[in-house]
Subunit: 425 residues, 4 copies
C-alpha cells in the first residue's frame, strides 16, 4: 500500500489500514452491510448510547489484532509465525460478517447461526470472496477455517476467539464507551504488553496477572450491568414473541398486509445467501412499523410495544410454583393476553454471553500464565479474584409479563400471583 | 416525583429526571420515535462512530438546560423568571421532535421543515400533546411557541435556541464524543459557570470570555472537520438525487416494485401527521434496499451506491467555466450517466449549519458580555479570536460526480475536464 | 458567603467553596503547609507523576464530602442530621492536617502519629484554631473529636473515616490520576448515588452493590500496583535507615555539618508544635542533600542513594533460613556494609495500608447494604467478589539489600545466599 | 537493549525506553535532580495540581520525539536523516537539564541562563557526560550543540526547539493535565500524523492545517489561562523581591541566621557546577522557611508571605500617572513598606513565554505548510485563526502591592491611588 490510511475511531483514536486487501474488504458491500446492524441488538432500549454498529466493532477487532501482531513483530518473538499475519487480520475483520439483525432473537426463533453465515459469505459468490481470492485460491477457505475454528494453528484462532481475544478486548471497550458504563474500561495497552506467543499459544506473563484480572473484572461488570440487563432481555423476548406469532400466522395462511421476500423466506426457513444479505435492522424495524397496523390484534399489539418501548415487566423468583403459574395464565387468558405471546420464563443458562469459566466450553481457550521458569498455569489456579468470578452464577430466574396484568389483578383473590410478581429488584 | 430517575449517558454521565411530566414525555411514542433517527444523518458514512440518535441528543439538551437552570436557582439570580422552569425543560426536550430521517436531504427535496413538524406534533392529536395538556390547557401552545421562537420571553427562547444555547452545547459535545473528533470538546462546566440571566437575556461575564472563545473554537473545528465534511455532503447529494429520480418516475407513472404509504405521500407532497410519524430512517433505508432491485436502472444504481457506500467523488474549484462543464456533461451522457442524476455543483452557502456570525441571521441571539460596570458588549467587539472566526467563509465550491467518469475519460481529448476534476484536496 | 468560590482541580474539575469558614481555613498557614508534603511520600520514585500534595488531597476530601451532603440534602433524607454539615466539612478538610514529611518512615522511626498532630494543630495556638473558634468556642474540640473518632455521632465520623469514606474516595481517584494507573479509577457519581444515611450509619442500597464492588476492586488494584509497590517500600526503608543512623550518631555525640532545630528536636524526641509545623519535605530533602556531604561514610552514602535513586534491590522469599541470613550478614560486614544500615527484612503485615477486611480493625466501620425490606447486611455476606478480596493476603516477604552485594558475591562459595537473592519477581 | 523498558506516565500512558544510553542517562544523578524542580515554578500556588517536575516533562519530550522519529522511520521518508536518531533522543531528554529552582525568578535576579547550565552539565565532569561519551568522544558536544542550537542540521534542532517541537507538545499536554485546565488539550496523534521531514525542515502537510490550528489555540488558551496568570506572576515577583533583599543584606554584611554554600555562592555570583547541582527547590524552600525567622523584618516578612501564600494583590492599568505612583510610594513608606521590596510594576513584554509570532524571534523556526505541489508557506499566510492569535498582545500592565496597603489607605485623601488600585479584573 502506498500510504497507510486511517479511520477516526472513538475507542482506538485511529484505525490504521496498511494492506490493500484490508482496504478492499472494508469496501465490499457485504462488509458495508454491517453498518446496518447494531452491535448490541436491543441494548439501545436500555442504554440509549448503545447505537453503534457491527461495522465499527469489526474495524476495532481488526485494529486490536494489528496492534498485538505489531508488538509481536517489534519484539521479534520467535514463537510468532510471521507468515500468518494477513490471515489473522482478515479473519479478525470478517469474523462477525454473518451477523444478522437482532441476532440473539432471530437465532433462537429460526435456528440460524451467524458463524455459519460468516463462512457462507466468505466462501460464496460475494465481493468478499473475490477480494480474498486475490491473495490465493485457498485463502478464502483459510479465513473461513479461522472463523469456524477448524484452522490447524491454535495460535491464529486464539487471537480472534479465545478467553483473551481481540474480539472481546474490542467489544468490552467499545460497549463501555457507547453505553457510558465506564467501569467496563480496562487498560488495553497494559494487557497488550503482557501477552506473547509461546509454543503455539497466546500466553500471559505471570507478572502481568493483575492486568488480566483487571480485564476480567471489567468483563464481569459489563456482563451484569449491560449484557444480562433484564430490560434488554425483555426486548429480546418481545422480538422473539413477534417472530413466533408471525410464524404461527403464516402456518395458518394469514394474509400479511406487509411482507417482503427476505422475511417471508426467513419464516419459511428457506433463506438464500442473497436474502440473508438483504436482512438488516432497517428491514426488521420497518416490518415492525407496518405490522403495527396488521389486523391480527396480537401481532399488531406486540409490534407496537416494541416500537414504543412498552416492554414487558419482569420479576425475579427462586422457585416457581406450577399452580401459581397456572392461575396466572388463567388470569391472562381472561384478560385476552394469550400466554404463548405474553408470558416468558427465563433461566439465565440460556444466555448467549459468558463470564470466565475455564473448561466449561471446549472451544474457548483458557488464559494461561507463563512464569520465569517457562511453566504454564491456568489463571484460576493463581488468582483468587478470577476464581471468585468464575464460580459465580448470579443469573437470576425472571418471569416477564405485560404491565397491565399487574394493574388488572384482583389482589385479594390472586395474592399468590401478586407475591410472584411483586418480587422486583 | 417521588425519587429522581436517571439515564446513563456517555456525554453527561447521568441525565437526571426530576419531574413526572418529563418522564412521561420521554415515554410517549412520538419521543421514542427519535431513537430511529440518527443525529447526524449521513455522517456515519464518514465517521463510523456517528451512529447516535436524536433521542440521545434530545435528552442531552434537556440535561444541559436543567443544569443551567439549577445553577441560576442555586445562585438565586433575581433576573431569572423561576416560573418558566418547566416550560424551558419541556421545550428543550422536544425542540427536535419534528426531525425526520436524513432531514437535510428530505427537507431540500420536498420542502418540509422540521420546526413546523415539531409544532404540529406538540399541538396535534398525539401522546405528547396529551401529556403537556396535563400541565394546563395552554401549555402545549407555550411549548410550541418556544420551539417556533414566537414565545414572548427572549430569555426562555434563548436557553434553547441562541448562539450559546443548550442545543449547541449538547450537540458539539455529543458529536465530538461519537465521531471521536475530540478537538470538538470544550469545558461545559466552565461555560456554565460564566453564563447568567440579565435583564431578559442570557449573558456571559466578561471575565469568562476565554471560556466562550474555547466553545466557539470547538464549534469552528467541528464545522470544518465534521459538519461540512465533503464525504458526508456527497452522501446527502446522492440521497437527494434518489428522491428526485423517484419523484420523476412517479410523475411518469412508473410502477414501483416496492412502495409504502408514507413514502408515496411524501412524493405526492401530501403527508399527514400520522404518515410523518411512520417515516424513520429504517423505512428510508428499507426503501433504498428494495429500490436497489427496481427495474429503472438509474434509481437502482443510485440506491446501490448509497447502500454499498460507492459515493460520488468530489473536486474543488474557484470558478467554473461553463464550456468545460458542458463538455463534461457531454461525456457523461455518452457514458449513460444522466447529469441530472449524476452531477452536482455545490456552493457552501446552501449549507444548513453556521459558524458564529452575529447579525447575519436575525433569529440567532448574539453572545453578549457583561462587564463589572453592567455594560453589555457583543463578543466580536472584545475578542480578536471570535472576530477571526466570524470573518471566515472557508466553504469551498465542490463538484460531485461518479468515480467511473474519471476512469472513462480520454485524458488527451478532455484535458480541460481532467483539470477540473483533478484538483482534489 | 456572597458568591461561591472555586478551585480548578484535575480530579473533580472544580472544588466549590460555599462557606467563609472553609475559605479562611484553606488560607491558614497550617493548611498551606500541606502544599509542601507529598500525598504519596516516596511513591514519586516509582511513579514519576505522583508528585501531588496533601493540600490537593485535602481539598478533594472536602469536595467529596460536600457532594455527599449535598445529595443527602437534595433528597431530603430524614436520617441525615442537617446541623452537622459544617462540622463534617471542616473535619474532612482538616483530617490530614497533622501529616508530616514522608509520614510512614518518620512515624516508624520516631513513633509519632499524624492523627495526634492533627488534633494538636486544631486545638493548639494556631490560625486554624482561631478560625474554627469563630463558629463557637466548642467547635475546635468537635472537629478534633471527629478526626480522632471520639465524636459521639458515628454518621459524622464515618463520612470522613470508614471503609467507604470521602478520604478513600478522593485518594483512590487522585492517586490513580497522578500516577497514571487508570485501573484505579472507579465511577464516583455512581457510588454517590447509592449511599444514604440510615439510622446513624452511612449505608449502601443493596441494588447498588455492583458500584461498591467496582470501588473495592479499584482499591485492590491500587494497593497491589501502587501502595505496596516494593520500589516505594525500598525508598521508605532507605529513609528509615538514614534516620536510624542519624539517631545513632547523635547518641554518639557526632558533630553534624548540617543541622536545623526541627530535625534536631525530632531526633531528640522533643518536637514542639512550632517545630513540627516547620518540618516539611523540603527541609527533609535539604537535610539529605547536605548530609550527602557528611564525613560519616554510612550516613553520607545512604543519603546519596536516596537522592540519586540508587535504591536497595529486593528479593522475595517464603521462609528464611537463619543460617543463610547469618552468612549473608557476614559477607556484608566483609564488604563494609553494616547490616543494621544496609539490610532489611520486610513482612507485609507491618504495612500501613489495608485492603477491605471487615472486623479486623475495630475503628473501620464496615460497608453495610440496605435492602428493600430495611435489612442491613455486611457486604461480604452478599458479594463473592468482595469476599475473595477480603481473604487475600498476597503481601510477600521481601529482603532488601544493596545491589553491589550481588555483584560482589562469590557465587560458588555463597550459593545459598545467591539462591535467596536470585528469587526476584 | 535486551527488552524495552517502560515508565508509567499519565500523559502518554507509557514512556518506552529502547536504548541503553537513554536508560543510563535517566539514572544519572544530574537527571534525577530534575525530580526536585517543579515544571511550572510558582504555578502550584495558582493551580494546586501543578506540582509536576521537570523530570516527568523531560521524559515526555523524549517520548514525543521518539514517536515522531518512529513515524518517520515507519513511513520511510527519504528526507529523514536516520543516523541522527540517537542524537535527537538524547538532546530531547536532556534539553532542560540545566533548569534550576524557580528558574524565571532566579534567572531574572541573578542573570543565569538555564540553557548555559544545560550545556555545562553535558560537557562538564558529570555522570551525564560520562554516559554520552560512551557513544563517541564527540557525542557530548553534539548534544550540547543541539541544545544550544549551534548544531549544523536544522531538522535535528527543530525537533527539540521550534514553533512545533516536542518540548511544547509535551508541556502543553502535561501542564493541561496537571493543572486540570483541559482546554489546553490538543490531539497529539493528529498532529504527529501531519508532520514530516522535508528538505532539512520539519513541515506540515497543508491538508493538516486544522490540526495545527487546534494545537496553536490550545497554546493560546494555556498562555492566557495558565502561564501568564497574574497570581503566578505575583508569586514570582515576591521571590524576586526576596532575592534582591538578600543580596542587599549580603552587600551590607548582614549576618544570616541560616545560610548554605550554594545560596551564598548564588548571591555572590560565583556558582560552581557542583554548587548549581545542589540547588533545587527543596533548598530554596528551606531557605524561605528559615529566613522567615530572620531578624531583618523585611526579609522575614517577604518569606512568610510566600510560604503562607499571602501574595501581593494586583491591579491592571493602561497608563501610569507618575504623580499618583509617587504618592502611592509615599503612603507605603509611611506604612513601613519599602517600595523597593513591596511594589512592582509589570509589563507583559518582559515575560518568558510567547504565543505564536513568526519572525519576531530569530531562533524559533516558524511553522511551514507543504502543499501537494511541494510549495512551502508560513502558516499565518493560510490561516486566519493563526493570524488572529499572532496579532494579539493582550498582556496587561499590572501593579503589584501588599493587600494591607488598600486597607490602610485613607480613601478620601488618596482617591487617585484608590482609583489605580481599584481597577481589578
Amino acid at each position: 500500500m502506498k500510504e497507510e490510511k486511517v479511520f477516526k475511531d472513538p475507542v482506538h483514536k485511529y484505525i490504521y489500514v496498511q494492506d490493500d486487501i484490508i482496504w478492499d474488504l472494508i469496501n465490499t458491500k457485504e462488509f458495508q452491510r454491517l453498518r446496518r446492524i447494531r452491535q448490541l441488538g436491543t441494548s439501545y432500549l436500555t442504554f440509549h448510547g448503545a447505537e453503534h454498529s457491527r461495522f465499527s466493532h469489526s474495524l476495532g477487532v481488526y485494529e486490536v489484532t494489528r496492534k498485538i501482531i505489531s508488538q509481536f513483530e517489534r519484539n521479534q518473538y520467535e514463537d510468532w509465525p510471521k507468515e500468518e499475519r494477513l490471515l489473522c487480520l482478515c479473519a479478525a475483520l470478517l469474523h462477525d460478517l454473518g451477523h444478522g439483525p437482532f441476532s440473539h432473537s432471530i437465532e433462537k426463533a429460526f435456528g440460524t447461526r451467524h458463524e455459519d453465515w460468516s463462512c457462507r459469505i466468505v466462501l460464496g459468490d460475494t465481493e468478499v470472496n473475490e477480494v480474498l481470492s486475490r491473495v490465493s485460491p485457498e485463502f478464502p477457505k483459510q479465513v473461513a477455517g479461522v472463523i469456524c475454528k477448524s484452522y490447524n494453528k491454535e495460535i491464529v484462532i486464539s487471537l480472534v476467539s479465545s478467553q483473551l481475544d481481540a474480539d472481546r478486548m474490542d467489544y468490552l471497550l467499545r460497549d463501555a464507551y457507547f453505553t457510558g458504563v465506564n467501569y467496563g474500561m480496562f487498560d488495553l495497552e497494559r494487557v497488550l504488553r503482557v501477552v506473547r506467543p509461546y509454543k503455539g499459544h497466546i500466553v500471559v506473563k505471570e507478572s502481568g496477572m493483575h492486568a488480566v484480572e483487571d480485564y476480567l473484572m471489567s468483563r464481569y461488570q459489563m456482563y451484569w450491568q449491560v449484557y444480562f440487563h433484564p430490560v434488554t432481555r425483555s426486548a429480546e423476548i418481545l422480538l422473539n414473541k413477534i417472530f413466533q406469532r408471525a410464524k404461527h400466522l403464516y402456518e395458518e395462511q394469514y394474509a400479511f398486509g406487509f411482507m417482503v421476500d427476505p422475511i417471508l423466506h426467513l419464516i419459511q426457513n428457506k433463506l438464500t445467501l442473497q436474502d440473508y444479505l438483504l436482512l438488516d435492522e432497517s428491514v426488521m424495524q420497518t416490518m415492525l412499523t407496518f405490522w403495527s397496523g396488521e389486523k391480527d390484534a396480537t401481532l399488531s399489539d406486540l409490534c407496537k410495544r416494541f416500537l414504543n418501548r412498552k416492554l414487558f415487566k419482569y420479576s425475579t423468583f427462586e422457585e416457581l410454583d406450577q399452580k401459581v403459574l397456572a392461575r396466572m395464565e388463567h388470569v391472562m387468558n381472561e384478560m385476552g393476553l394469550e400466554p404463548a405471546s405474553y408470558l416468558e420464563i427465563d433461566f439465565p443458562t440460556g444466555l448467549s454471553y459468558d463470564v470466565y469459566r475455564p473448561g466449561e466450553s471446549d472451544d474457548n481457550f483458557p488464559i494461561l500464565l507463563l512464569n520465569h521458569k517457562d511453566q504454564l498455569t491456568e489463571i484460576t489456579h493463581k488468582s483468587e479474584i478470577v476464581r471468585s468470578i468464575s464460580g459465580i452464577h448470579r443469573g437470576k430466574h425472571h418471569i416477564y409479563y405485560p404491565e397491565e396484568l399487574v394493574e388488572g389483578l384482583n389482589t385479594r383473590e390472586y395474592q399468590d400471583v401478586w407475591a410472584l410478581l411483586g418480587s422486583q429488584d
